[in-house]
């Protein structure tokens, strides 16, 4: 049967419409992801140029950093404490029970440092990023953004760059606090419960000794990348649309996109490095 004989003009319209619908949805999802990546590259490019850091940009960096670190610190410490009991203490306890205390370092590094800390801290920062989404959703593309361009102020430098850098720094800072808190609380719980016989120095040495060179790259890479992408997704989600949506309409979208960004980043970097 020839291809022309199997072609039915009456049915082809429906098929093309189906493909067009699927394609449109796929393109819009891919479009946002590509925009986020493009903004990420833009952040790297502008970050290293001293001329990008005008006074208002530096002021926005300080403000965003204060919001992200200051606002997320207590949550991070509490979360770190809970994970310390649920993971670190449990690991010490059960590995002690089976006589495999020597494995505690590699397990904690592989699970806590490489995987759990980046994702949980990313989710904590995602909660803080709601403020960025709300601020951006008040900007109307036809008004305030044009107004900035007319004043010779690049909206990317003022709105995206400082938030991306602030969240990246905050993510790394909170990640260190999270891991330190989890290890401290877990070890202390083990000592208090009588299940851990090693000293704090031995415990620290075990954990640090289990860290390979790649771990010193993957942890900061994940924390910085996740922080930056959480900020960019929240800013872009806040800016999209005509300005008719309220912040409460965009926040769920920010959360969904941010969660995806965190998971994909963590997975890609774990597999790559």
């Amino acid at each position: 049967m020839s291809r022309s004989a199997s072609f039915d003009p009456a049915r082809s319209g429906d098929e093309w419409r189906f493909f067009a619908t699927v394609g449109r949805a796929a393109r819009s999802r891919a479009g946002f992801a590509l925009t986020v990546l493009a903004c990420g590259l833009g952040v790297f490019r502008e970050l290293l140029r001293p001329a990008s850091w005008h006074r208002p940009v530096r002021a926005e960096l300080r403000r965003s950093l204060s919001q992200a670190v200051g606002g997320g610190l207590v949550t991070t410490i509490v979360a770190g404490g809970l994970v310390g009991i649920a993971m670190v203490y449990e690991a010490l306890f059960w590995l002690g029970e089976v006589g495999e205390e020597r494995l505690v370092g590699s397990i904690l590094v592989s699970v806590l440092v490489r995987e759990v800390a980046p994702v949980l801290v990313g989710l904590i920062l995602l909660g803080r990023s709601g403020a960025a989404t709300a601020e951006m959703s008040e900007l109307h593309p036809g008004h305030q953004l044009d107004s900035l361009n007319r004043q010779g102020i690049d909206p990317f430098l003022l709105l995206v760059l400082p938030r991306a850098v602030a969240f990246a720094i905050a993510s790394y800072t909170l990640g260190v606090v999270f891991v330190a808190t989890a290890l401290t609380v877990g070890f202390t719980a083990g000592r208090v419960g009588g299940n851990v016989v090693m000293s704090s120095w031995e415990f620290s040495s075990t954990v640090l000794g289990a860290m390979r060179p790649a771990d010193f790259v993957i942890f900061p890479s994940k924390m910085l990348a996740i922080g930056m992408l959480v900020a960019i997704t929240s800013v872009l989600t806040g800016l999209e649309g005509s300005g008719r949506d309220r912040a409460s309409d965009r926040l769920p979208r920010t959360f969904t996109r941010g969660t995806l960004a965190i998971m994909v980043t963590s997975l890609v970097l774990s597999l790559t490095i």
């Binding site: 001329a51 208002p56 940009v57 601020e135 008004h143 361009n149 007319r150 010779g152 690049d154 003022l158």
Partner: protein
């Protein structure tokens, strides 16, 4: 002024089809230092789009736009942004950035483009604000101010940099004397001013300290005889 560089030049400039400026004809204009003109059009969006064209924010299909001797298309985006800092603008429906306070909104362009100390900028802005009828530099958010006070605040922002080229919209009669004082001082300094006015039945040049009245329409820029 013979030999002086024009402050603004439109050389058969045609806006791109995708732009917000709904004019197909080529636009030509030359504004010399010390000149003040009025551009009249049907609505404020068209006037703002025209000002955007003059500031290199609208892509051109043909022709050139020069500001202070610089062709916008020859400038990188960094230098273009720096040149726009020398243009004072007042926009329709300008409300500033909601997440910044009123003072920062007013000082923002100067904080961004210059190294002037914030205290110095604050003092200069306070003096301007008092000239325009405000009790001082507004505190709090711009959204907390009355609409007329927002206009005053945006005028302070536009004039704080002592611009070489100034775009103004129509203002309330109570503001006009203070603005005209500033306009005249600016013209004496060698600057140029463009008033952007919606359709008016009475075209009064003295009202705007202007020397020429032009109408922006589909056919382009055309001189219009003043009424008085």
């Amino acid at each position: 002024m013979r030999g002086a560089t024009p402050v603004l030049e439109l050389l058969m400039a045609e806006a791109d089809d995708s732009s917000a400026l709904d004019i197909v004809a080529a636009l030509s204009l030359r504004l010399m230092p010390g000149e003040c003109i009025v551009i009249e059009a049907a609505d404020e969006a068209e006037l703002d789009a025209f000002a955007d064209l003059c500031c290199g924010l609208i892509p051109l299909r043909a022709g050139r736009v020069r500001c202070l001797g610089h062709d916008w298309t020859d400038l990188s985006h960094i230098y273009a942004a720096a040149l726009r800092a020398r243009v004072g603008r007042m926009f329709a429906d300008d409300t500033g950035l909601p997440f910044l306070d009123a003072e920062t909104n007013i000082l923002l362009p100067q904080l961004h483009h210059t190294n002037r100390a914030r205290d110095e900028l604050r003092a200069a802005a306070t003096a301007l604000a008092e000239e325009f009828g405000l009790p001082g530099l507004p505190q709090g958010r711009l959204s907390d101010l009355a609409p007329t006070d927002v206009v005053r605040a945006m005028l302070v922002r536009a004039m704080l940099s002592e611009p070489t080229l100034l775009f103004l919209h129509e203002v309330a009669p109570t503001l006009r004397p203070a603005i005209l004082n500033r306009v005249v001082a600016m013209l004496d300094r060698g600057g140029a001013v463009v008033w952007l006015i919606e359709d008016r039945a009475a075209r009064d040049l003295h009202r705007y300290a202007a020397t020429q009245w032009l109408r922006l329409a589909e056919q382009g820029l055309a001189p219009t005889r003043p009424t008085r």
